[in-house]
Symmetry: C2
Subunit: 342 residues, 2 copies
């Protein structure tokens, strides 16, 4: 039987390791003057555009569980998370840095997998890895991702710009990543004491993909640009629809009405939710990690935005005094709260 | 007896905590269009300039020991570390983001101290805190700092530009931070079992300051700009003179000669080194964390650079075939090696 090769991190040294890992990331962006290999990356911002910057850190045991999270997918997902914050400003991502804290228990081959995922996401999303370091951490894996992007000043969409009667739009569907996580957790519990566990995921592949390998919605920002639609406000859906919409309403000093039956749910989401006795709307409102975009546009753009076929209009902005409510099909109103259910 | 107030992180919640901490950082940079409070920061790069970006992460138990590292100083030092990488490109820092992983064991008051240090450094260095998050970590404190800066394209100094006969210049003095760390470690060992420890630091305050609260050398980059001196290459001294000079030589495909008696050492560094039977030159070569700048200038600038009174010329660049050596006063040559002694 062939044994899988195991290289210790110490064999390569810090610099050798960084060269090996960053070498996998071959996408180059035109705006990068100097990428990996100096004290800092040097970027030439596109003429007259603003630069955007955001940082997120992910901790093993808090944000991901390596017992069921393949490292390659993890690499892909942290890039998505970083990029998604740039997209949420209606801007396009161009560079990332990845700072890695690793226990010496992990072999180099595990980090290879992680960086294959990062490299794949960078190629797919046309984002250049321009820096980062790899250090020892005392315990689990820590990944810190900084994403840079650019946009014309007048195109940038803030959380704070939603206006009266604006339409509340969302991309994709919600709650699928949360249900994917529930599925993984269930299989782990069931198979905890089994020697050769064969988890059953048949029919729920989409949910796993949404949790393990969510795609950032670059396509939406590109399309909005082509259509010359400038959202009045925007945020990405990472904490769940309720929490993220409340953040947007708070920043815009407004209220909102969203309609329960308009919240887009994937078939697999409702199926697994039924099977597990979870309300799929609760998964959408509080599950999080959807990496879809939530934005508002003026009412006058209703036809144009619907014609795109890329977004669902789930409600509209109202004065702050009217509060923030979910409207049920029978006309009942449930106040939106931020606390998650997990 | 008055009890020190202890607020649990959970009492404030994630958003309340971030508001409280980032609220301390009041410096605003003219190039920031949007700082803390949205999905990403928005920066307007100064007309025609390049943007620089770098990320560093610091782990409790690896990079710092909270038993003797005051949190306020730690906050200051991580800002210095971030800024220093921007300065090392001959560029000026303008923004930082700080991403924090904290154990729930830490009270909010401890994070207040940390952010007072961050805020102090930001005010002093005129750098705006424009983002970051605060998350639970399973174990120790993790701090990830991204620094942004800007410079004219033609002013940026890379590691790779050193030319034949260029002078090797360094700012400040070396090895002091390493000796400061040795002092702290010694006092901790001595006082480990003492009930009310009173560590003895008299006469070595400078060493403690260099380790606990190193100042970034923004003054040097400003002065070089005013004097219209463009270094041919540059790096900041974080891993020790030997390792950092070797990095610069490798990137520039050149060799170097540096002279032992020209390496600047502070009086306190040599005094404590004598007392602890450490060779102070070893501290300078391999100690690290000096956060001084190492750079090269053409030989023709010798007089101008000496006149500044801010740097020491410790050697010069030679062809790669001549290797990289430390020359002793008796004319002996010791090959420079990268490995640290700690």
């Amino acid at each position: 039987m062939e044994q899988k090769k195991r290289t210790e991190i110490a064999e390569l040294g810090q610099f050798g390791l960084i060269d090996r890992l960053t070498g996998k990331c071959t996408y180059r962006d035109a705006s990068t003057l100097k990428g990996v290999g100096d004290d800092a990356a040097v970027i030439v911002p596109p003429q007259g555009e603003t630069m955007l910057c955001t940082t997120d850190t992910f901790y093993e045991g808090v944000d991901f569980d390596l017992t069921y999270f393949p490292l390659k997918h993890l690499g892909y997902k942290v890039v998505t998370a970083g990029i998604s914050d740039i997209l949420a400003m209606n801007a396009l991502p161009s560079q990332i840095t990845v700072s890695l804290g690793v226990s010496s228990k992990l072999p180099v081959e595990a980090l290879d997998d992680l960086y294959e995922g990062i490299a794949f996401a960078c190629r797919e999303q046309e984002v250049e890895l321009v820096g980062g370091d790899t250090r020892a951490s005392m315990t689990g894996l820590v990944l810190s991702v900084t994403a840079l992007g650019h946009a014309k000043k007048e195109a940038v969409a803030y959380r704070s710009g939603a206006g009266q009667n604006d339409l509340i739009c969302i991309t994709g569907n919600l709650g699928a990543a949360y249900m994917g996580l529930q599925l993984l957790e269930r299989e782990r519990r069931v198979l905890n004491d089994v020697e050769n566990p064969q988890p059953k995921f048949d029919g729920y592949e989409y949910l796993l993909e949404k949790y393990l390998k969510p795609r950032p919605r670059t396509d939406i920002v590109v399309t909005l640009g082509e259509e010359q639609i400038r959202p009045t406000s925007m945020i990405d859906l990472t904490d769940g629809l309720a929490s993220d919409l409340l953040q947007l309403c708070k920043a815009s000093s407004c209220g909102a009405r969203i309609y329960l039956e308009r919240i887009p749910l994937a078939r697999q989401t409702t199926e697994l939710a039924d099977e597990m006795h979870i309300d799929p709307v609760v998964a959408a409102l509080h599950g999080g990690e959807d990496y879809e975009l939530l934005f508002t546009v003026p009412l006058a753009l209703q036809e144009q935005i619907m014609r795109l076929g890329l977004v669902d209009v789930i409600g509209h902005i109202v004065p702050a005094t009217k509060g923030r409510y979910l409207v049920t099909p029978d006309g009942g109103e449930i106040e939106l709260k931020a606390q998650g259910f997990h």
